[in-house]
């Protein structure tokens, strides 16, 4: 069952966008990724409006003191497994607002962050790349867990698949692919022309 959920999630991650005191720059660029030029909807990446439907939280802005409790609440409302992207320099480190009295220094002051996409503002390309990389990474974790369950002798607990199974060691790599042939740990499918 977990495998099916992982597979489905990797194919069509739904994102929730939250403005935590950003200047709008990252927000319009995040939305721009959904617009006809970049059109990430064709990869199944949908922008959802409620935290309860979302897999990935895209938070922008340095997180103002008023927004911090709300960011936390939105994060808590998201179902597991959830991923957080800090989009933009402010969200990553506080950016130009690092010494403002009413700001935290980035999203990771408030909630754990899985991926930082810097840039002022972050470009739509960078954001898409961030989402894809994050999914690849998350997929590897999930794959490692399953592998550890099936063949505990080759994977130490908590290790990622690429650490546990060195690329040079062909025999184990083969076991890996044979064992999990149908898993969707790759990128979202490219669109057909």
């Amino acid at each position: 069952m977990g495998r099916i959920i992982d597979w489905a999630r990797n194919r069509s991650p739904w994102i929730l966008h939250l403005n935590c005191g950003s200047c709008n720059g990252c927000d319009i660029e995040t939305l721009d990724a959904l617009m006809p030029r970049y059109d990430i909807e064709r990869f199944g990446i949908l922008k959802k409006d409620t935290p309860r439907h979302a897999d990935i939280l895209v938070a922008t802005g340095p997180v103002t003191k008023q927004m911090a409790p709300r960011l936390k609440r939105v994060y808590e409302q998201m179902p597991e497994p959830k991923l957080v992207i800090a989009a933009g320099s402010c969200a990553s480190t506080g950016g130009v607002f690092h010494d403002c009295y009413n700001c935290h220094e980035g999203v990771d002051d408030v909630i754990p962050v899985d991926m930082y996409v810097p840039g002022c503002p972050t470009s739509p390309e960078a954001l898409i790349d961030g989402i894809v990389k994050l999914l690849e990474e998350a997929g590897q974790d999930a794959q490692a867990e399953r592998l550890a369950e099936a063949k505990p002798e080759i994977v130490e607990e908590g290790a990622r698949i690429d650490e546990a199974v060195p690329a040079a060691d062909e025999s184990t790599a083969e076991i890996d692919t044979d064992d999990n042939p149908e898993e969707g740990t790759d990128e979202p499918e490219p669109v057909e022309a």
């Binding site: 617009m35 006809p36 927004m67 607002f97």
Partner: protein, 425 residues
């Protein structure tokens, strides 16, 4: 801003993980009709005005640019103009033309963005996608000229940082030809489109007297027949050298604002063409000295700088105390001037109209969040509508009801026909 407290209260926001930024308002309703509204802003308050005091003038250009990502050029221009006034610097003509060019490109990008958002709020997503697709033409031009899509950072004290090459001028003119075609299409279709008319005609009416009383600025004021435009009233940059019209309308409803904004895009194209064709040769900066040398001796004085941002008149007040950091910077943004008209025009309209009435002034919360801190987060509560749910509700409500009559605003002396076309001296 609160009025009658009778009837049911509906809290909206502050969380609406949708298009816009955090804002909270409480609607008092009697059935479907809104009788009173109260706004709470400043969820985006970051303390920029305080942070400005600790930075040098040069650093502040980049800090103030990040007040807002949609009108970033407006903030840097207003600030640099103010500092130039303090230093008594003459900006060379070529630099003034480049500032005008970027300012108008930004105006197009902002109005196209608004057009899309307005389309989304009334459930007309095709318009949203169309407008944002065509906006990419301008974004590409901005990226080519300045190197960045959103924060252009082209202004510096006494001039601009980047020159405009001949190749770029040709690209701009070609881009404007493409865009002109699209704007002609919007000018013809949007005001006549049934979906737009149904949701925008006679909605959110701000009559001329109300617009004057509440000092509405920008497209909101102009759509109500108040022809205020800093570009004409107190020309800065190169606006006294170019021809353009101030677009006004006398109906004051959302449709009028849409028409005014699309008209302004057409005027912006006209200005950009003139600028690209007759930009003079010359220096980019007022002085060959490094800006740090100039800014080491800012005399003790104060200056007020006005700029016509895409949303209306933007005012920066700067006081210097003889050091290399400002003693006070205050910013009055156009959205703040327009909020009271939203509260007024919400009264007497349907709940379903709230999203588009609020979006109708093109609000920018991150600009507006200069004052007021509220940290308890107690209001709202479990039953709060978020704006997106309200948008869905609005679309469904109109779908079910079909063609509805507008609630009467008579008796309060506010009708769409109050205003008359304002005349410019």
């Amino acid at each position: 801003m609160s009025e009658q407290k009778a009837g049911t209260e509906i809290p909206v926001g502050p969380q609406h993980p949708s298009l816009k930024e955090p804002a909270n308002f409480t609607l008092n309703v009697d059935g479907e009709v809104i009788t009173g509204a109260e706004m709470k802003l400043s969820y985006n308050h970051r303390g920029i005005e305080q942070a400005v005091l600790g930075n040098s003038y040069i650093e502040n250009i980049y800090l103030l640019e990040r007040i807002c990502g949609i009108c970033s050029h407006a903030h840097t221009s207003a600030f640099t103009q103010g500092v130039e006034e303090l230093l008594d610097l003459d900006v060379p003509p070529r630099a003034r033309y480049i500032r005008t060019l970027i300012g108008e490109l930004e105006r197009i990008h902002s109005h196209m963005l608004w057009l899309g958002v307005a389309g989304h709020e009334i459930g007309f997503d095709t318009l949203w996608q169309y407008a944002w697709r065509d906006r990419e033409i301008v974004m590409d031009l901005l990226e080519e000229i300045t190197g960045n899509r959103v924060h252009y950072s082209i202004n510096t004290i006494g001039g601009v940082r980047e020159d405009l090459t001949d190749d770029q001028r040709e690209t701009i003119l070609a881009g404007m030809d493409d865009l002109q075609e699209r704007i002609d299409f919007y000018q013809e279709t949007v005001p006549n489109e049934q979906t737009v008319r149904m949701r925008c005609e006679n909605v959110g009416v701000v009559p001329k007297d109300l617009a004057r009383e509440y000092c509405a600025v920008g497209a909101v004021g102009r759509a109500s027949g108040v022809p205020t435009d800093v570009r004409k009233d107190a020309p800065y940059a190169a606006y006294d050298d170019v021809d353009f019209d101030v677009i006004t309308d006398d109906r004051g409803d959302l449709l009028a604002r849409t028409v005014v904004r699309i008209g302004e895009i057409a005027q912006a194209i006209r200005i950009i063409r003139q600028v690209a064709e007759r930009i003079p040769e010359g220096d980019l900066k007022a002085s060959a000295k490094p800006p740090q040398a100039l800014l080491a001796q800012v005399p003790e004085d104060d200056a007020v700088s006005r700029y016509e941002a895409p949303r209306g008149e933007l005012i920066h007040y700067i006081r210097s105390d003889g050091t290399d950091t400002p003693a006070r910077v205050h910013i009055r943004v156009p959205t703040l001037a327009n909020w009271p008209t939203v509260v007024e025009s919400l009264k007497g309209s349907y709940i379903a109209d709230t999203p588009i009435v609020v979006a109708g002034i093109d609000p920018c919360i991150s600009c507006t969040s200069r004052i007021g801190v509220e940290t308890d987060g107690s209001h709202g509560g479990e039953n709060a509508f978020d704006l997106d749910e309200l948008r869905e509700y609005g679309i469904d409500w109109y779908d079910e009801r079909g063609n509805v009559e507008r609630p009467s605003t008579a008796g309060e002396g506010r009708t769409a026909t109050d205003g008359t076309e304002g005349e410019r001296p």
